[in-house]
Structures are given as C-alpha cells and as structure tokens.
C-alpha cells in the first residue's frame, strides 16, 4: 500500500517536470536560478577578492579587467561583493518564505480542518495582518527586532504566514468533504496524521506556486529594508545595503549602484518566470 502510493506520487512530479521542460521560458529561468544558487554556494571560489578587502590606492575605480564591476569608496571589489551578496539575498529570500509558508500551512490547516472558533480566531488575526501593507509590517517588526540576519528573516516571513494560511485554508475547505478524508477518519487515523498525510499534500500546489513567486518579492523587500538602514547592515555585502552605500556616490561611481540592482532584478525575474511556468505546469487547465 505504502509503496504503490509513493510510486504514484513520484510519477505525478515527473509529469509536472516533463511539462515544465517543454516550456522554454521556464527552463531558462530555472537554469538562471540554479546558476545563481551555485554562485551563492561557491562564492568564496568565484569571487576574486575577499568581500571586505580594502585597497585605498584604487578607490572608485571604473570597471576593468581586474575589477569587473569596478571598486567602491574603500577600494573593495564590487564584483566580489555582489557575488558574496547573493548568499545573503538568496538565503534570506528562501528561508523567510520557507518559514512563513510552513507556519502558515499548519495554521491554515488547523483553521480549515477544525472550523468554528479556531477558524475565527486565526482568520481574524490574519485579517489584521493583511490590512497592514506587507512592507510596513516588515519595517515595524524589523525596527523592534533590530538588524541582523535571522531578525530580518523573521520580519519578512510574517507576510508569508498570512498568505500560507489563506491558501491552505481555502484548499482544505475545498477538499474537506471529499471521500478519501472520510475514509481516513473511518479507519481511525489520528487528526495530525490526516492533516499531515492527506490534507496538506493535496493542497500543496497553489502554495508551491505562490511561494516560488514570493521568494522574489521577499528578496526585494529584504533589499529595501537594508536600503533604508534596517535589515542587513554594512559592511556585510547585501545587495540593498550596497545600493544604499553607493547612492551618494552615484555621479562618480555609478557602478556601485548599477550592478547590485541588476543582480536583484535578474534573481527576482528568474524566480517569477519560473513560478509562472510552474503554475502552468501544475495546473494545465489554466493554460487553455
């Protein structure tokens, strides 16, 4: 029993993967995303200089063969800093979305599965969270928690929780009265088993799509937080704080602002295009 259900699940993912591979835009964006993740993982090997190595003889040097993206006001190599920065941006994006989605899924599953008062309490709470524009909530939490890597992740994941709750709850209300849940209940499966083994897997695909799309948004929000002085602090080479640092020198050294921005844009674009392709692949009905 266990085995056959596993094989069926795997083949389902294969079908999705096959559909994805027929969509050239999705394939390209997937390759770009993987490439960026590899850059982040192998940053120490790729970056020609340490991100904090100063060279006061060559400050604000224009892009050249030695310094591909030029140098900043302390002579640090912008290319190396951008490469290192991908670590922070990508990991903040992925971890914040992961955390928000997982917490949101469980809260949403409880709300949708139990209904009644549990549902009311959780949903009123979500209503309040969602009536504050996401960035403002992230700013507020970030002000309270103070700067730092994990604090930033926490601040940015709250919006994801709200989204996860709503999507999971909607999906569960959709499937709550289906026969296979009745069957699971009738063979005396525990509530937690029903939720984790039957309810969540069957409500997963809309959440997967919107999570992929929101990684891009979170990366942008993280960059914005560090840009206004919250989030990741200099001298850590986070893309947003690099842009903030180069802003006052934009006349003499525009490359300090241009290249981190291009990398934010590339990353977010790749993730959004991939999420788009994923949605089409998971739900072929949508693409008539």
């Amino acid at each position: 029993m266990e085995r056959s259900s596993k094989r069926k699940k795997q083949s389902e993912y294969l079908v999705v993967a096959r559909r994805l591979s027929k969509n050239p835009v999705a394939v390209i964006s997937f390759v770009v995303t993987v490439f960026l993740i590899l850059i982040a993982i192998f940053a120490p090997l790729i970056a020609p200089f340490p991100y904090d190595k100063q060279d006061l003889m060559h400050t604000r040097a224009a892009p050249s063969a030695q310094h591909l993206f030029g140098t900043d006001e302390l002579g640090r190599d912008v290319f190396s800093r951008v490469i290192w920065g991908s670590r922070y941006s990508l990991s903040i994006g992925i971890l914040a979305v992961l955390f928000g989605t997982v917490v949101g899924m469980f809260l949403g599953a409880f709300a949708g599965y139990f209904g009644g008062v549990t549902d009311d309490i959780i949903m009123r709470f979500i209503d309040i969270i969602q009536s504050i524009p996401g960035i403002l909530l992230a700013i507020t939490i970030s002000v309270v928690l103070g700067p730092g890597f994990f604090n930033t992740i926490l601040a940015l994941s709250i919006g994801g929780i709200a989204m996860g709750v709503r999507l999971t709850r909607a999906a569960i209300l959709n499937i709550r009265n289906q026969e296979y849940l009745e069957a699971a209940t009738s063979i005396n499966a525990s509530t937690s088993r029903i939720i984790t083994r039957h309810v969540l897997p069957n409500s997963f695909s809309p959440i997967l799509v919107s999570s992929t799309m929101s990684i891009g948004n979170v990366i942008m929000a993280a960059a914005m937080l560090s840009f206004i002085g919250l989030g990741i602090q200099p001298p850590t080479p986070e893309w947003g704080s690099m842009i903030a640092g180069g802003r006052s020198l934009i006349r003499s050294a525009p490359w300090m602002v241009t290249f981190p921005g291009i990398f934010i844009m590339l990353t977010v674009l790749a993730l959004n295009l991939f999420g788009d392709g994923l949605r089409d692949a998971l739900d072929p009905k949508l693409k008539k």
């Binding site: 309040i128 507020t140 891009g216 206004i228 934009i250 977010v268």
Partner: protein, 307 residues
C-alpha cells in the same frame, strides 16, 4: 472598519511595545543621569502599565484622531501626518492613474492577441515590472534624467515635474499587476456565450471587445486597485526618502533613523488606516458598478419598474 483600525492599532502598538531597552535612556544618550531618565519616563508616560498605555493610545486615535507627540521633536504627530499626507496621496493617485491607463490597455492587447506576439510582449513587460526593485529604478532614473540629461529635478517638491520621476519609479509593479489581471479576466470573459452572441449579431470586433467584454472583465480588476493602493502607500516610504519628498513615508524613515518610535508607530498605523479607508471605498465602488450587487439593495417594487 472601526474593528480593523482597532485591531491594527493594537497589533502595531503591541509589536512596538516589545522594543528592547529603555526609550527614555536611548533618547537622552549614555551621559544622562538616572534622575533625568526617570523624569523622561514620567513625561512620556512609560511608567504606566501596558494596558493603560494601550488604552490611552488607542482611545486617542479612535476618539480624537490624536497620535500623540514625537519623542524627538515634541511636536504633535497628527499635525505633521495630516500636513504630509496630501503629498503621499498625490503620488499614490498618479500611480493609480498610470496603472489604470497603461496597465489596462496592455492587458486588453494581450488577451485579444492570446498567445500571439502582442500577448508575449505585454506578458513580458508585466513580469518585468514586478521584478524591478523600485528604489533601484528610482536611483537609475535620477542618474539618467536628472544628472545626465538634466531634464528633471533629482529631489524636492515644487511643481508637477518634481513628481514625474517618483511616480514612474513607483508605478511599475502596479502597471504590471493591472495588465496581468486584465488579461486573465478578459480571457475568461471572451469565452462566454454573450460574446459569441455579440459577434454573431455582426458587431465589429472593436465594439465587442470594448462594449461587451471590457466592462465585465473590469469588475474583478477593481478589487486589485484597492490592494494596489496598499502597495503604493508602502512603496512611497522608500521612494519619498530617495526623492526627499516630505510625505508620510519620509517621516517614517526619518523616525527610524532618529529612533523616534512614536513617529514610526503612528506613521505605520496612519498608513494602515488610509489603506483600510481605500479598501472600503473600493468595496463601495464595486457595489455601485456591479449591477448584481446593486440589485440586492433595490426593493422589489423598484425592480418591477426596471422590468
């Protein structure tokens, strides 16, 4: 409406209440004497319990629309917010107009040329638009149009030309979202029977699209305009501080930099209230333009007259 505002206020107040450290000490600096700190705490009302402070604050906002005083400048926050809000609102409104008048046609073009070249191009513009970090676009626009070409002022306020760059920088995601929503809702509508009927009557394609498809397709799009305002109000925070526009957003950022948490807290709540009001207006507009909802509020007698 009031419960939402209350909820938001309580939540933001509670989050801000958790800031570690003594605000009075932070404001006075490390050289302050314990007596000074104690006096300051008394002055700010920090010695009261959580519930007393919460009650005073929420009561002040809901009953008198009073946000208290700035910790740093000791000026009433409400006056400052009301003085600054028109500028933030102007930016948001211009962006909404750009969103409607650029995004909607893009979406229509995409839907009409479904899977064709026009569709591809406008879809790409749409996904590109949501992938641009607006603060970076803003700096790039300043670099190009203000510093290189010297066409537009790089910062400050004055005439309408001071608003051009901030609004362009801020409008991209909205235009993109509008285009995507218009496209998908147009695609749905275009397949309905009454469109086939309209075509069968021999109506020109333009008329079919503009008179029959578009009004129906735009109904769901109205709701995303409300959400769009939320995104714009939040986005204005960083755009205003880049262009030094004295709006609510730059007030908020200023509050963060000077650790004036009374200002931060009040600005966030103020923007959230503005957002809630916009959502309310959008709901009302929706009811007004959707005949199905309007019909529910019209009495039976009147309905007979329509027939």
């Amino acid at each position: 409406m009031i419960p939402v505002i209350m909820g938001v206020t309580i939540m933001i107040f509670t989050i801000m209440y958790l800031i570690p450290g003594d605000p009075a000490k932070m404001m006075l600096g490390p050289d302050s004497t314990p007596e000074q700190v104690a006096a300051k705490r008394q002055e700010l009302g920090l010695n009261d319990s959580y519930f007393v402070r919460l009650g005073n604050y929420v009561g002040g906002i809901v009953l008198h629309f009073d946000f208290g005083n700035s910790w740093v400048y000791h000026t009433p926050v409400t006056t400052e917010l009301l003085h600054r809000f028109p500028r933030t609102l102007t930016i948001a409104l211009i962006c909404i107009l750009l969103q409607i008048f650029i995004g909607t046609p893009l979406g229509i073009i995409a839907a009409v040329n479904h899977n064709g070249l026009g569709d591809r191009i406008s879809q790409f513009i749409a996904i590109f638009g949501v992938s641009l970090p607006n603060f970076w676009v803003a700096i790039m626009l300043v670099l190009f149009f203000s510093l290189e070409l010297r066409w537009l002022p790089p910062y400050g306020i004055g005439g309408i030309k001071y608003y051009i760059l901030p609004c362009i920088a801020l409008a991209f995601p909205g235009i993109a979202t509008q285009a995507r929503q218009t496209r998908s809702s147009m695609l749905e509508v275009i397949r309905s029977d009454y469109i086939t009927t309209a075509r069968a009557k021999g109506m020109s394609e333009n008329r079919v699209i503009l008179r029959h498809a578009l009004p129906n397709a735009l109904l769901p799009v109205v709701t995303i305009i409300g959400n769009g305002v939320g995104v714009l109000l939040a986005g204005a925070v960083v755009i205003e501080s880049i262009f030094s526009i004295p709006g609510v957003g730059s007030y908020l950022v200023g509050g963060i930099n000077t650790r004036d948490y009374a200002v931060v807290q009040s600005s966030v709540i103020f923007l959230a209230i503005a957002f809630a009001l916009v959502m309310l207006i959008v709901d009302l507009v929706y009811a007004l333009i959707d005949p199905r909802i309007k019909a529910r509020f019209v009495g039976k007698k009147k309905r007979k007259n329509y027939a």
